[in-house]
Symmetry: C2
């Protein structure tokens, strides 16, 4: 059986961002990671609902942040042992692209930033 992808409009768009080569100390710095999320929210004029949820993992581990938005959510996890920060931005209303590469190289020392972008609400349907 053949399938094709159909995309439901108005279901939003997700950006999956992985920044590697980042400075481990920056990835453990809660205030710095919170500042990046605050900048993202401010520059894209997103609307947090309630308080963000932040957690600092013990020892040499990283931090996690989850922010519920009127427009869906932002999530960030850092992995200092891998030099890695991963972000999800899911936005059910149109937004311009954010300069992830510039911001994450400047603020986390990331040397590679990959951005994968796709529609939510996609579904496979039988092709005619």
């Amino acid at each position: 059986m053949r399938y094709e992808w159909r995309v439901l409009t108005d279901a939003g768009r997700e950006w999956i961002v992985d920044a590697t080569g980042a400075t481990p100390d920056a990835l453990r710095d809660l205030a710095r990671v919170q500042g990046i999320v605050a900048l993202l929210i401010s520059e894209l004029r997103l609307s947090p609902v309630g308080e963000p949820h932040w957690h600092v993992f013990p020892g040499e581990a990283g931090v996690t942040g989850l922010v519920l938005l009127a427009e869906s959510h932002v999530a960030v996890h850092t992995f200092p042992e891998l030099g890695l920060a991963t972000f999800n931005l899911y936005c059910c209303r149109p937004r311009a692209p954010w300069p992830w590469e510039d911001r994450l190289s400047q603020l986390l020392g990331a040397t590679r930033v990959t951005v994968r972008e796709f529609e939510r609400g996609a579904r496979k349907e039988d092709a005619e």
Copy 2:
């Protein structure tokens, strides 16, 4: 310039799940959606950190839930006007696949469930 994808091991895996054709009343039923997330957490033996963050949008709109996990996070958004529920499960430690299609057809009346799965920590690198 050519690129290839390199995947950092140990950075985890994400499942992006879109369920369409779901029953609008089920998508507005906070307890039902919370029950699905509780079942996912229980069956995959995931470890919530702190309290989940739930929000019910006003009027005929849907619900959002974000759960911070020791293994990363779960997010769910429902869109009754589209018959749509969207889930993200990001898990930085290995887990078996969850039977998304069976669970979401049974519990939300979804008629199509698409599961996209990919590695986090991927980065584009110059090919040799």
